[in-house]
Symmetry: C2
Subunit: 522 residues, 2 copies
């Protein structure tokens, strides 16, 4: 053993990272299992890429955010960086596999961003993403609508019934609208990213940014206002179809080719979303712009109760602008060091995505592999679900991590504790597909063994008595019973040969017993 260099060192996780253990990792796994089941229902296949990519692969894909990329130290050899999202690795994979013209892939993995962490909000430097993307040719909105349908199916599978809204817009409508309003072509993206802030700040602030910081003509800004305050759908004062009709009747807008294409296809999208039972969940929102450069068509973002900062939530919506600005100032100041204990406040979107038709072509010339997809922010889904569980909500897909059986033994002073016999029983149960534990003391006191069985939450104890063992008998006891008259509380003596059958029967029985529900039986 070399000299000890470890002592006295700082013992912690790297900034913005966490260990997942205990009930947390159990809930995380349950959430991921629900999501991947939905993905597989749509025929999506898993892809798993390396945690790092050649630096060239990531270069120039994330605009200003590139500064948040983690680089691997140059130790000789290739220059590498940790992945920043799962989209660019997918595009790189498609470009490398030119024979693949069409693919449905999902990917569940952690991504890395050297951002300022805000733990309570679920903003971490290492965090989970869960992506589904469809690549290949498609008639207008056929693929896009199916991706939106997976969003609805995921949130229904997570039992967030009604507690989410899919904000949808289209880059073509947005860009066409900017053209119609008179935004110069070279200002389109910067004005677009100003518009995207409307979920975080009031119009006055956004207008100020456009005019004062970005040098946009005030009149153009006012024309933009007319559009970007339009919403229709879930939670809005008009339906998505009504908003669509307003746009279809807007002659100036319909005279713009881009806008017209976007609006026409939006009509198709609506009919598909209706068939896919997804229409009720959407809000057509002309202020949605999304930050990333590479989107070329439909874009969307999923918000849930508490996704918006406090100053913009329903309860405070009608406050005066003064009050809003006050709150906003405070909110911005707190942004990077949020220590709020309510993880459902201001977490931002819980899923987002859109169509990106040109990304694969940036890796391989003449590669025409149009794509559309969505990414779920799993850490946020986790934080919100956990907080709802703590508030008493039940989710049927949350599984127990307790073993089925705890195997124990007791006897007199001359008793060896039957370690080998306990192992043999546990092995028999394992081979029958059951989970079983026993204490790692050769001879343990019975109360200590019961304590451990309770700690691990086993619903059944299999108890070896020194005397009964000799007759080939063993006792099956149901843990946590309160009914004194139930013989299973004391334990029922059975033949060792019937062990597996009896344990399985008892497990099946108690899953219907109301008074052992508290044991959280699988």
């Amino acid at each position: 053993m070399p000299k000890d260099k470890g002592k006295g060192q700082q013992l912690k996780n790297p900034k913005g990272t966490r260990d997942w253990s205990g009930d947390d990792v159990g809930l995380l796994d349950d959430i991921l299992a629900q999501i991947s089941t939905v993905f597989r229902k749509h025929g999506a296949k898993k892809l798993d890429t390396p945690v790092f990519e050649l630096q060239d692969v990531l270069k120039g894909k994330y605009g200003e955010d590139s500064k948040l990329i983690y680089d691997i130290a140059d130790q000789g050899g290739e220059l590498l960086s940790l992945r920043y999202d799962l989209t660019v690795p997918f595009a790189r994979w498609l470009a490398m596999n030119a024979n693949i013209k069409s693919y449905k892939r999902f990917h569940i993995a952690k991504v890395y961003r050297r951002d300022q962490p805000a733990i309570a909000k679920g903003r971490m430097r290492e965090f989970w993403q869960c992506d589904i993307d469809f690549a290949g040719p498609s008639d207008p909105m056929m693929m896009d609508s199916e991706v939106v349908a997976t969003i609805v199916e995921v949130f229904e599978a997570l039992e967030w019934h009604g507690q989410y809204t899919i904000k949808i817009n289209d880059r073509r409508i947005l860009d066409g609208m900017f053209e119609v309003c008179g935004v110069p072509a070279d200002k389109t993206r910067s004005i677009s990213s100003a518009v995207d802030k409307l979920d975080k700040m009031p119009w006055e602030e956004v207008r100020k940014e456009m005019v004062e910081t970005k040098g946009l003509d005030g009149e153009i800004a006012d024309r933009i206002e007319k559009y970007v305050t339009m919403k229709g759908g879930k939670g809005d004062s008009q339906s998505a179809v009504e908003l669509l009709e307003t746009l279809e009747n807007d002659e100036k807008l319909m005279a713009n080719d881009k806008a017209k294409e976007g609006i026409t296809q939006f009509r198709t999208l609506m009919s598909y979303l209706k068939a896919l039972k997804a229409l009720d969940a959407i809000s057509f929102d002309l202020s949605l712009a999304r930050g990333l450069d590479y989107y070329t068509g439909i874009i969307y973002e999923v918000i849930t109760e508490g996704s918006r900062p406090k100053h913009l939530t329903n309860s405070t919506k009608k406050e005066s602008d003064d009050k809003k600005s006050e709150k906003k100032a405070k909110q911005v100041a707190d942004e990077d060091e949020d220590r709020s204990n309510d993880p459902t406040v201001g977490v931002g979107s819980v899923a987002a995505g859109g169509r990106y038709d040109n990304l694969v072509g940036r890796f391989r010339e003449k590669a025409e592999v149009p794509c559309v997809g969505v990414s779920f922010g799993v850490d946020r889904l986790f934080s919100i679900t956990k907080s709802r569980i703590e508030q008493g909500q039940k989710f049927s897909y949350v599984t127990s991590q307790s073993p089925d059986v705890y195997v124990m033994a007791f006897g007199g002073k001359d008793f060896d504790g039957a370690p080998a016999e306990r192992m043999e029983i546990a092995t028999t149960l394992h081979n029958a597909g059951l989970s079983a534990e026993y204490t790692h003391k050769a001879k343990a006191k019975l109360p200590d063994q019961f304590k451990k069985a309770e700690q691990v939450g086993a619903p059944i104890a299999v108890i070896l008595g020194q005397d009964e063992m000799k007759d080939g008998k063993v006792k099956i006891k149901v843990m946590g019973l309160t009914d004194e008259s139930d013989p299973r509380k004391e334990g029922i003596l059975i033949d060792m040969a019937d062990l597996v059958t009896e344990v399985k029967k008892t497990l099946a029985d108690i899953r219907d017993l109301p008074d052992v529900q508290k044991l959280d039986v699988k």
Copy 2:
């Protein structure tokens, strides 16, 4: 869209890494699911740690191999490195959580080593590990034997029946034996690592290294030879118990405290392994030393057919020493650039581990958290299993990735292709727990839709006919039927309202049909 910097760049994975996709990732997931099911049966809980750790955490833990650690570039802030294994992060986590005195954890994740890759052998720079470790107090061999039992249960779950051997030794026996032979204390570890090479080279070479390179007295080396050539158990000429008896009768060895403790506990281990149905899989092998510094008791390593380099496999065992040396020289030369197409040859061990009682104490003073565990080399398990499947072997746990249903439609020239109706049917099937796909063309030719259904391997087609649709009827067709008289080959017309029931019934039926087995139905 910013200027395109991507084109013309090298399009590849970082050296020593791979993408997992298609059937490969399906098989990988099936293997991981088998392993984690075994782990959970023993009551182990998942732990997930960040991909990187503070550099201090890894420092001084891996001896010479530390040079293989990937560092993260210093971009300001903490100094970080990618994890090298899952054991040190577990020890760090235990040290950070001082309230946890006892824990069974498993961890499935990728680890990172800047080693020379040998793809065909499954030696990668990014590779999967699958670890189970028990931490906390235990009576002698109670925990150790349970970990060995998980190894047997994993390989049985993977259906490698009989095709693996668990080589076991104990550091205390090894160190005591070195003392008895007269190895100076400061040479123990270096002589130990020379002994560990006996699975790669013949004794003559190892002796040469001991005497010429490491300056050991030749007589001492000869005394060592007597011990390290002793084996007993699976595939050996004597049983493990017989070897144990030889050691128990070795007065010199039993006079050494360390050796005596190890040998006595080995007797206990054997009785436990018998109870755990694990005894037949082991070979007690005094030449097993394992490279890592931190082991303090039992150590083990799992080999499979082809684990040993060719010159040491059974078929060549009886060759003359000359021939052996010749082959050995060749084998060493090839070692770092093995391009063999047979992944079962010379992959090394497929799992390894042991007891390490002092590692947690290196992170936190006075932390007494003894541990014992095993790590499965998943990439190697994958390569070997895949190669066996290619050779025609069947594994019952390998699942299909095909959807249950392909939804299609056909009609006359005036038919719109029923995109919305296909979506509605797919959504109904999804909500009933089934997987279903449809083509992303609004109006597709029927032969094209059949081709896609075949490509994705759907066992059932749901077919919408333009005329039948009007009557609320839909056809269910079983794909891949050869029996012309079976009406399901042509398709059976049913009421739309009965769709889910009929599809589920048909799926259940065809899982028993021999002539659609080739469709690889789930």
